[in-house]
Every structure is written in C-alpha cells, then in structure tokens.
C-alpha cells in the first residue's frame, strides 16, 4: 500500500503544473535566480521531463551585484543539467552604472530586475515563464494564481485573475499576453528545505553558516563580498559566523548570526526561529503593500 506524504503530493503537483505549461507553450523559459527555490524548481523540472532533456532554457536576470559564489554556483549547476543558460543584464543599467549604493535599493531593483526581466522576456519572445515564487512568502502572493496572466506590458491585474478550479489550468492567452507559472505556489519555506535535505539538492553554501567578512549598517548585517562596496567612515569589516535565509544582491541582503553549518541545523534553526525569511530583504521593508505594487508593475 503506497501512502503519499505532503512532500510527495507537492512534488507531483509541481511536476503536473510544469508539464501542462510546456505542453501548451510556444516558447517557455524558466526564471533562474540561483536561490534555493530555483534549485528545487530545476530539480523538479528535470524529474518532470525525464528521460527527455529540459525542454526550455534558463533565464538569469542578472544585476552584476549578486554574491560571487552565486555566479560560480550558477555556471556549475547549469552545466551539470546540460541546460541552455541565458544571462540578461539591462544594458541601460550597465551604461548608467546603476548600483544600490548611489541609486538606492528601489531604483536598483526596479531598473535591474523589473525592467531587465521585461526586456529579456520581450527580446526572446517567451510566452510562458516559470518562477519560483511561493504563496507563503508574502500576503499579496497568497492570492496569485498558479498560472498568472500578464498584459503585453507585463502587468498583473489582481482584480482580473482567472478562476483556477480543480487542476484545470487555462493556458490560453491573447496576442501579446504572457503567462507566469509558479509551480511552487503551494510549498512553504520549510517544505523547500525539507525537500532539499531529502533529495540532496545542491544549494549555494551561503545558506550555511560560515565565518564571513561583514559590516553592520542600518540594522542589517551586510557581507563585504567584493571591493565595490564603499565603506563608511569608521566601518571596518569583521569576521563573524553568519548565514543567509534568502539570496539576492549582496548589498541588499541581510545576514543572520548563526552556527547552523549543516542543512539539518538550518532547518532546526528555522523551526525555532521567530522572524520570517523576507525580513532580510530591503524590498519589502518600505511599507506593507509594496510587493503588490511591484507585482503590478511587472516584478516577478
């Protein structure tokens, strides 16, 4: 007698979502952000289409400000999967030298990520893009559909979402529209970590605690990942044992003090922790409802 655990059910659902999208897509792509959710999504995609190779390329919308280790990890993993990797860097940002230090987190994120993503989707004509977002991340995500239609301008209209019944996904779209598909919608942060542990999925080691050079700034512990980070008067990097709960641009991603240097300890720490994972991200801090606005503008 086979019994299915909650992770078995989540895995089967995600695989079905990916197959359904690929079966009806003209030009699908997977948004690959190098984080743990992307790692799980890539792992699930390999399962969904086994023994065939991945039927779509990976797209990394780069900001040039990710942790160095993330770039190394990205190139190793995509080679391992034999996946086609498209890296897009917003040329306007390159030219203007947009960075979080001189332009602030809001402009930096909008220009590199939101605008960069739209450019990349338009340039390659992708009609269906997989993203690793989960409904438990943030309140406005809780109401997003698994198959989420975007206008030709990539906008999300919360009021015009298609009802999603049973497991019948409506993958039809009008000319110009595209669909963002979220196979991990029903996973929680804990599910993701448990699955990584059980399936031994490789993740960037920044998630595990290690001695790293950090400075404390505006209540956040920031890692000095390269010499582009301007130090303020009196700031001096010190080695502390830290890890990251989410990964983004290093100047915008707060570390937490931790001794958890194995996956099991990370999960243990999470089960005992009292703060949510997005706390370390500058983007959500401006005010409640800021994610909803960003999504309407085309953020993933």
């Amino acid at each position: 007698m086979i019994t299915l655990t909650h992770l078995d059910r989540l895995e089967a659902e995600s695989i079905a979502i990916m197959r359904e999208a690929v079966a009806e897509a003209e030009r699908p792509v997977m948004l690959y952000s190098i984080g743990k959710d992307s790692s799980v999504m890539l792992h699930l995609a390999a399962k969904a289409f086994y023994p065939a190779p991945l039927p779509f390329p990976l797209l990394h919308v780069d900001t040039t400000w990710k942790f160095q280790e993330m770039y190394t990890f990205r190139d190793t993993i995509t080679a391992q999967f034999g996946a086609e990797l498209i890296v897009h860097q917003n040329p306007e940002c390159l030219e203007l030298g947009i960075n979080p230090f001189s332009h602030g987190s809001a402009v930096h994120t909008d220009m590199w990520k939101t605008q960069g993503l739209k450019q990349a989707l338009d340039r390659h004509g992708f009609d269906i893009a997989f993203g690793g977002a989960r409904r438990d991340e943030e309140k406005s995500r809780a109401k997003e559909r698994i198959f989420s239609v975007r206008s030709a301008q990539h906008q999300w209209d919360a009021k015009q979402q298609r009802p999603e019944l049973w497991h019948l996904y409506n993958v039809r779209k009008n000319p110009g529209q595209s669909i963002r598909v979220f196979p991990l919608s029903n996973w929680t942060e804990l599910d993701v970590w448990q699955y990584i542990r059980l399936q031994q999925i490789p993740v960037v080691s920044l998630y595990l605690a290690a001695e790293r050079p950090v400075v404390e700034r505006d209540g956040m512990v920031l890692m000095v990942d390269d010499d582009r980070m301007p130090l303020k008067p009196g700031e001096r990097p010190v080695m502390r044992k830290v890890r990251f709960r989410t990964l983004g641009c290093y100047p915008l991603t707060g570390a937490i003090e931790s001794n958890a240097d194995t996956l099991t300890e990370v999960i243990q720490e999470m089960l005992l922790t009292r703060t949510s994972e997005r706390q370390g991200r500058a983007i959500d801090h401006d005010q409640s409802g800021s994610m909803e606005r960003k999504k309407q503008e085309g953020y993933f």
Partner: protein, 635 residues
C-alpha cells in the same frame, strides 16, 4: 505517532524523519462577511506559532492604525492581503494559507463571504477535502450559511465542520449553540451532507480553536485544530478505477515513447491492461517511469510516465483508463454550469471547454432552470449571469472521455473558456451524458444533396455577407443574386431585416438574441444548401464566434465569407434607414458600431472595400470569384 515538537532542539533528526511523513489536508473556510473568518485563520496561524516576530510587529502596528479591535491584535489583518481589500475591510479574492502541525500540513483556501463572490468560493472548494463553515452565534444560520453549504455540497465536499463562532458574545450559552447545530444539521442533510461536526468556538478569544476552552464545559469534542489534524476524508488515494489524462508525450528519441500525466483516479501496475480513450484501443502497461526509478505500481495524485508494450497512437488529451472499468465517452451532457464571466452566458454561442487535458469546442443550451442559491428553488432562465448556477445541456464538438462529477471530480469537472478573450468564464460539473442524439436517428432520404446538384448548373453554397448596418450588404447581395439568376443558378437571399420580420420576430438585439438570430439563419442556410441552392445571407452578424459556427454547419468548400467593409464613419454618413441618428440620440440601444461591438473578419474569403468599389463592380467581381472557386461555370 507524530513526534512532539520538543524533539526539535533535542533530536532534530528523529523529529524530521517523523515530520517528513506527515500528510496533507486541504480545507476551505467560508462564512458571511462578519462571521470572523479571517480572525479564525489568523488565530490558527498565530497559535500554530507561524506568525514570526517581524510579522507580529507589523500586525501590532497595523492593528493600531487600521484595526477593528481597539487595543487588541486584529488577527484578520494577517490574512487580508491586498491593499485594496484592507481599505474596504473585506476579503475580495480567494487566498491560500499554509500552516502545519506535527501531524499534518494544511492548505487553507480562504474565500470571501461577500454575496457577489460565489465564483471564488467555488474555486476554493474545488480542491478542498473538508469545509469549515462559520456561523455567528448571535445570528444563527443565515441565508449565506445555507448558500455556502449548498456550494460546498455541489462541489463534492462531504465532510463539513460548522464552527459556531463568537460564543463569547452570548456568554458561552450551550442552548444557543445546540439550537444552531440542530437547525444546521437538518439543512445540511437536505443538500446531501450527512457528516457534520459542530464545534463551538470564539476565534477572538481562542476558545476551542487549538485548545479546549474552560468556558465551554458542556462541549466534550475536540478543539477545531485537533479535529482537522485527525479527520479522515474519503476520496483520496487509490479509490475508484484508474484514470490518467495524458498531458505530454515524452519522445526524446525514436526508441522511447512515454505518456506523461498525473493519475487522477485509482491505481495502475506494470502489466495492467488499460484502455485508451476516446479511441477505445487496449494496451498493456510496460513500465511506470519516474526520475527516481521505475515503480511497480502507482496511485492517484502521483505524476508518472507510462510506456506501453504495443505501439499505439496516443496524444495529449487522450485518457488512459482501466480496461475493466473505463470512463464513458460522449459529446452531449447534462451539467451544472456555474457562470463566472462578467458577460452573461449566451446559449448557442461557441465556447471552448477544457476537461482533463483536452480542450474542445462546445455550445451550452438555454438553461433548463437556474438554482436560487439562497432558497435552492429552481427558476426559469434564458441565460446565466455572473455567479449564477444552472442546469444546462452542453454539446461538445467531438466525443470526450468523462466520468460523472460525483464519481470523480477531476474527470467530471470542466472549465468554460471564452474564445475571444481566452478568460475562464464558467465551470461545469457533469451529471450524465445525454442519449438524445443516439435516439433521434436521421431519416435517410433517397434523393440527397449530390443528386439534387446534378440537376443544377452550379454547386450549392452559402455566401455570407457581413458588415455594419449601412455598409451595403443588402444592395450588393441583391445585385449578386440578379447576376447569378442570369447565369441560371438557383438562389435564395436571406436578408437580415426580412428574416427578423418572420422567423426571428421574437428576437431582440441583446447579445444573447443576436447569437440565436444567427444560429437560426445558419441552420436555415444549411437546409437550403442541402436543397442544392446558392444561399446569400446578408446579416450584420457582428460576432466572429457565430460566423465560425455558421461555417462549421456546411462543408468546407460550401461557405464563402464576404466582408462588406465600410468604416463606421462612412456607414454612419450613408445611414439609409436613419438608424445611426436614432442610436446616437439614444433612441435605439444595442446598435452595432455604437453601443454594441462589431468584430470584423480577420481572413474573409472575399473582401469588398466599399469606399472605392461601386456596388455593381463589387457584385461582378464576386461572381467572378465564385466561378474561380468552381461554384458556377464561368461565362
């Protein structure tokens, strides 16, 4: 036994081993606007220690500025996500919440109680195993409580909890809870729900939510959370016969051909005989493939890839089913239709439906009746508006494999998609297939279309003129008919105005009536083509969907769509019947081009630009085109 949370710090490995074996329960919460639903969910998240410190700080901050509980925490703010609804103080869309205990992981579909959002409740209920329905102890069973119960029952949920909330406001009085429970059980059994558990709670005070409250010594059942942790629900696992709609054919090379899909009923094992539907061929399962290795057998909910021992043509949209107990195959059904589109359902309009992994064309007949969801009365109806539910006959344009919805909701439920906007406008729950078409046999006649055609000097066809009022359809059609008559062709002209004076005089100009107007005239045209005539149809026929339907009624070479193209300004300038002037003054409503849309053909067979082509020239060139198509013999 589940591991106690205490193990997290002492023996994390043992804890995780046990924790990873939890199962998953999906439930829906429904209640009227002020029944305290968001408060209950916020409380469940809070009590399961799922609210983190930073979220709690935000909650404390928000409770002070927009909260409704004075100095206390307003748990509803935890779940009311979108900025728009936080301002209005109501939940306007279905949201999914997640929490887990040591025993189970839960996915909660949080659906609004507001009257106009039946659509969202139906969506949330479609994937739920259990429903938690809230009632306010001060108000008892309301119309909305009945409606929610009916919808939950309609969508096939058979395990229901009635949470009698706000007991703190009635002094935790047993007789009040008892009275509500009795009344509710009686109603629930009338809609087919017999497994009802009643739990008296106060979400605000946390009584009987996660722990049994001292306030209700007369209640000896479990608190709500414990109930949800332990309730056994039917309809999960390998129940019923094997069903797997094929999602994707996996063909990495010429050697391998696998059929990928998620099993939605029963189980399958290597060596099983299965039937491929709708073709009806049988085959044997060779392997059950996953990336983690082949399986000897697999059950409902698993996503797998099957290979078969025989080489049989199987494509996306086909269903693999138990050979001993296969799904039935049909193209006409009686179904509950739940309408979710802003525009009303139009009987006879061609829609798309998606059932399993198959998308086909379909038309929905005028409802037999609609259901008043508040009183459950059957009401006569010509159409269904947003959030209305009716029982209708549905015609698919080809046969599909199906089960009744009560037998399997994954193979008995379909969605309805608008062909033009591609949005999901409805959902259908199959009752049974209609044998109607099987019993009405077409009478065979000896003299058929082919024999009639041999008497004529031309091939029969429909020439369909479409265009705005005043574009010149009738004029050009008339001239064309005269020329064809001169060529000794047998013709008949169906003119929009003339037909509306007779056959269609019961129809008005609403979208629904326009669709029926075209359906009737298309059927008449089909009969005339069968009689061997060249039929000229001059109707505005504004919608692409109905023109496509008219085309589908006759043979592929028997329909010639002619777009009489005049820009609105020019047609309005001509205004031969003075109708545009009336419409502009508001004396005529639903006038095409003014307050009713016209969808020009994207690829007509023949287009006449009336701004540069005089009517006589247009008719001549059309007659020449008919000759080139082999309809008539050239002069």
């Amino acid at each position: 036994m589940p591991a106690p949370s205490g193990l997290i710090s002492t023996d994390i490995d043992a804890y995780l081993r046990s924790y990873e074996q939890r199962d998953l329960l999906r439930f829906i919460t429904c209640g009227s606007v002020d029944d305290g639903k968001s408060t209950l969910i916020g409380r469940l998240l809070y009590e399961s220690h799922l609210i983190f410190d930073d979220q709690l700080e935000a909650l404390e901050r928000d409770s002070k500025t927009v909260g409704t509980q004075g100095a206390d925490l307003d748990f509803a703010l935890l779940v009311d996500g979108l900025a728009a609804e936080r301002e209005q103080g109501i939940t306007i869309d279905v949201a999914y919440r997640f929490f887990s205990t040591d025993r189970r992981k839960f996915i909660v579909a949080d659906t609004p109680g507001h009257e106009q959002y039946t659509r969202n409740m139906v969506t949330g209920a479609s994937t739920a195993d259990v429903a938690v329905i809230l009632a306010d102890a001060r108000k008892g069973i309301l119309t909305q409580t009945r409606r929610h119960t009916f919808l939950v029952s309609l969508l096939g949920i058979r395990t229901v909890v009635l949470a009698v909330n706000k007991l703190d406001l009635v002094g935790y009085e047993e007789s009040i809870a008892q009275h509500i429970a009795d009344e509710y059980r009686q109603f629930a059994s009338s809609v087919g729900i017999n497994q009802v558990t009643v739990i008296p709670i106060s979400a605000l005070q946390g009584v009987n939510v996660t722990e049994t409250g001292r306030e209700t010594p007369w209640y000896d059942g479990p608190p709500l959370l414990e109930y949800l942790e332990t309730v056994q629900v039917g309809g999960r696992g390998p129940i019923g016969p094997f069903r797997m709609p094929v999602q994707w054919v996996n063909r990495p090379d010429s050697e391998f051909r696998g059929f990928a899909g998620q099993i939605v009923g029963g189980s399958v094992a290597q060596g099983d005989t299965i039937r491929i539907l709708p073709s009806g061929q049988t085959a044997t399962v060779e392997r059950i493939i996953t990336a983690d290795g082949d399986l000897p057998s697999a059950i409902a909910s698993q996503s797998v890839t099957l290979t078969l021992t025989q080489e049989i043509d199987v494509s996306r949209g086909d269903m693999l089913a138990s050979a001993h107990d296969p799904a039935a195959v049909a193209d006409q059904f009686e179904a509950d239709i739940i309408w979710m589109g802003e525009q009303p359902m139009l009987p006879g309009r061609p829609y798309l439906v998606k059932l399993g992994t198959r998308t086909v064309g379909a038309t929905i007949a005028q409802p037999k009746y609609k259901i008043n969801v508040n009183t459950l009365e059957h009401v006569a109806a010509r159409t269904l508006e947003l959030n209305e539910i009716g029982v209708c006959n549905v015609n698919f344009d080809r046969v599909v494999p199906y089960d009744s919805y009560t037998a399997n909701r994954e193979t008995g439920g379909f969605i309805v998609i608008d062909r033009l906007t591609n949005t999901t406008v409805g959902a259908g729950l199959i009752h049974f297939a209609l044998r109607r078409a099987d019993n009405v046999h077409r009478q065979l006649v000896e003299v058929d279309k082919a024999r009639r055609t041999t008497l004529a000097a031309h091939q029969p066809c429909v020439i369909w003129f479409t265009g705005l009022s005043g574009s010149g359809k009738s004029t050009i059609a008339n001239l064309t008919e005269q020329q064809l008559h001169g060529l000794r062709c047998r013709t008949y002209l169906l003119d929009g105005d003339n037909v509306r004076l007779g056959l269609n005089k019961d129809l008005g100009f609403t979208d629904a009536d326009r669709v029926e107007n075209i359906r009737r005239v298309a059927e008449v045209a089909r009969l005339m083509v069968d009689a061997g005539l060249i039929v000229l149809v001059a109707f505005i026929s504004p919608f692409a969907a109905e023109r496509a339907m008219a085309r589908a009624l006759v043979g592929p070479d028997e329909f010639i769509e002619v777009h009489i193209d005049a820009p609105l300004a020019i047609a309005e300038g001509r205004d031969p019947k003075g109708l545009y002037k009336k419409a502009r003054r508001g004396l005529l409503t639903n006038f095409t081009g003014i307050d009713s849309p016209y969808e020009p053909p994207e690829q007509p067979d023949f287009r006449i630009d009336t701004t540069i082509t005089p009517a006589g020239v247009a008719a001549e060139s059309l007659v020449a085109f008919l000759a080139s198509r082999g309809i008539t013999i050239a002069k």
